[in-house]
Amino acid sequence: MTGAFTLSQAERERRLLPELTQLVAHHRAHCAPYARILDALGEVGPGFATVADLPWLPVRMFKTHELKSVPDDAVVKVLTSSGTTGDPSRIYLDRTGAAAQTRALAQTLQTVLGPRRLPMLVVDGRGVVADRRSYSARGAGALGMVNFGRDHVWLLDERDEPDVAALRAFLARHGDAPFLVFGFTFMVWRYLYEVARDHGLDLSNGVLVHSGGWKTLVDQAVDNAEFRRRFAEDTGLTSIHNFYGMVEQIGTVFLEGPSGDGLYCPDFADVIIRDPVSWAEAPVGTPGLIEVVSTLPTSYPGHVLLTEDLGVVNGVDDGHWPGKRFSVLGRLPRAEARGCSDTFAGATR
């Protein structure tokens, strides 16, 4: 079952390049600030020789500027990211864009979940999505995923303690057939892994989809390999898919292959690792900044974005699925102004 992950690198680039080139022209025509950036950079276009030649925007531009390629009255949804510092990103979706991202996300996840909704265990508290007006990043992630499951059980109770009885009941009802588990990486480790291990619970029919980064786990010497190994040994859970994605490219998720050999790009997307000195594409095995490329963003110029995440391509067309497989290595530290300003700003944290 390969679903959304079918294209070899050459075929992917052959298909993406004209579509993305078309998107550059589209956003240039409909988003004046984007056009001004490209004009100032001397990007002549309209043709580009490779996907890596396409002009990229720093992802943080969506925090500092209103960038959209549709008229105000066509906007049906504004997504905001609650970053840890400063202003949130604002992502504008029109009807077409909103539908496309939902469809693409479904297509991507069905590759590992199958066509039908599975019983779903959410490794979080129901409270994380209680306030419908403002979600945390965790809340937004959980809310996006709950559509892919049914008969939801939330692992954490009101006091944010694992509800072992509810987990046992869920497994008794659904544990004999495939079920979906979703959560943030550190929550999954802290609450699901430890509880399942300590109570000898069998998760072998689960399909775990998780995201959120390894920062807090690295402190406990748990990396992806260790995470997978311990889950398999202690709970029987082997179907594990980490994913990488961001609100600025909503609908596009880079999903870990079944054998854990890296994150893969769905057919409508790609990644380019850039050397932060030459800004050229880094060779396989050389870390750099992650640029994410997707044909989904039509209502805002988010089709080619330079993230502030560090990553590395581990191989091309040599893994479980075709295309590039890559790892996220961490986050670039934010440059700090050493200015005269803001004596107290930041002192509150």
Binding site: L57, H65, L306, E308, G339, A345
Partner: protein, 413 residues
């Protein structure tokens, strides 16, 4: 809540202990006077540590501070102060206790305002940010090392402390001081001002400022290669020390003169700045490189730059659509937005109250004085040669600091 004693380095204490200590010493028999030799000696010893070759090589930005604190320089400031007092037939005494709230992250500005206040004989309490690091630590180490040779009154009257975001401590120090010195953004100033001062006390505030450079096209063309190279190197110092984030670092460069010739001047200047940065071995890391892209792309997105170019990560060049499009916000280290005007006076409508320093190259004094008169104090408090933007002066932001830290007494007999 405990305070961390950074200078003199010591065990944590409370705000009441700190206040009791400095107030007693300031009133005691060994109390300081204006221009006290014990402070002059201490500052001189401290400056020698900052100017030691090992420190100067690693932290060239400490050089101007070192020079500012040398005996010859402090004596010169005191001579100027005394000359003014003589003219007024006034006696000068310390104001008492000065509470300094410097910005979180310019590593040396706190030393300047403290040093001038100490030179005027005041007891001082300086709040060092919890975020202060790097050069600030070097400075504090040098201060503590200098104590060994100093008169005990220095340690008794001068304190630098760190505490977290604690309104109670800020309030206590505000209520106790005679002068409060607040550096920082407009928001920080407003924030600190929530805490009342004693009725006779007052604030000296140094809020957000922006600065620019002006280069005469004719002056550049008349300069020889060595002078041009020197100018570029000076500009590089103004721009790259403190990552271009200091208030006095130029945020844009105005070329003044023939617009056709200006293009070639800009190109040569950018090349020479790039070479100077390479020679000094300065670099811009990946995080700063991204910051600069965000900054420069943002100016373009706003319609304020018609061209943006990157010479490696170190130098970003922007061609502004108009002089009035000059950015005042920080765009990352090594960002040079350019605009061209026919003559200096064309900048008058561009200059705002918050503009502080104008660094210049290729103008004569008469032109600059005429420009200052034309501005009429509506903006720009200091006009200095390229390379001197970050050299602190005893007259700063329109204040004569030494006098601000003195209380004047007149005797009419």
């Amino acid at each position: 809540m405990k305070l961390t004693a950074r200078f003199p380095a010591g065990p944590p204490g409370t705000v009441d202990e700190v206040l009791a200590g400095v107030v007693a010493a300031a009133a005691g028999p060994a109390r300081l006077g204006v221009g006290d030799p014990r402070i002059v000696d201490f500052l001189h010893g401290f400056s020698r540590r900052l100017l030691a070759p090992a420190v100067a090589r690693r932290h060239p930005e400490l050089g101007p501070l070192g020079f500012f604190l040398r005996r010859t320089e402090t004596e010169r400031q005191l001579t100027r102060l005394r000359a003014g007092l003589e003219l007024d037939d006034a006696l000068a005494f310390p104001r008492g206790l000065v509470f300094h709230v410097p910005p979180a992250n310019v590593d040396t500005i706190f030393v300047y305002s403290w040093a001038v206040a100490a030179l005027a004989g005041n007891a001082n309490v300086v709040r060092i940010s919890t975020r202060a690091a790097g050069v600030a630590d070097i400075v504090l180490d040098a201060l503590n090392e200098s104590l060994a040779d100093a008169d005990p009154v220095v340690a008794q009257t001068q304190r630098m402390i760190t505490y977290g975001h604690d309104d109670a401590i800020t309030a206590r120090l505000s209520a106790a001081c005679d002068v409060r010195v607040v550096w920082g953004g407009d928001r920080s100033v407003t924030d600190v001002r929530r805490h009342p001062l004693a009725p006779a006390a007052r604030d000296l505030t140094f809020p957000d400022r922006a600065s620019f450079a002006v280069i005469s096209v004719a002056g550049w063309l008349a300069a020889d290669t060595a002078a041009r190279r020197d100018a570029a190197e000076r500009l590089a110092n103004d721009v790259y020390w403190f990552d271009q984030a200091a208030c006095a670092s130029p945020r844009a460069i105005f070329l003044v003169g023939d617009p056709v010739a200006a293009g070639a001047v800009r190109a040569e200047l950018v090349t020479l700045v790039g070479a100077a940065v390479r020679d000094k071995g300065w670099d811009v890391d990946a995080a700063m490189a991204v910051e600069k892209r965000v900054g420069a792309y943002g100016v373009a997105a706003d319609g304020d730059a018609s061209a943006v170019a990157f010479a490696g990560n170190a130098v970003a060049t922007l061609r502004l659509t108009a002089p009035a499009a000059a950015p005042r916000r920080w765009l990352g280290a090594g960002t040079l937005p350019f605009a061209t005007v026919d003559r200096l006076t064309d900048l008058i409508p561009v200059i705002q109250r918050k503009d502080q320093t104008l660094s210049h190259f290729g103008f004569d004094r008469a032109e600059l004085v005429a420009f200052a008169h034309a501005l009429g104090g509506r903006g720009i408090d200091r006009i200095v040669p390229l390379g001197a933007a970050l050299s602190f002066a005893a007259i700063w932001d329109g204040y004569d600091l030494a006098r601000e830290f003195c209380r004047l007494v007149t005797v009419d007999a």
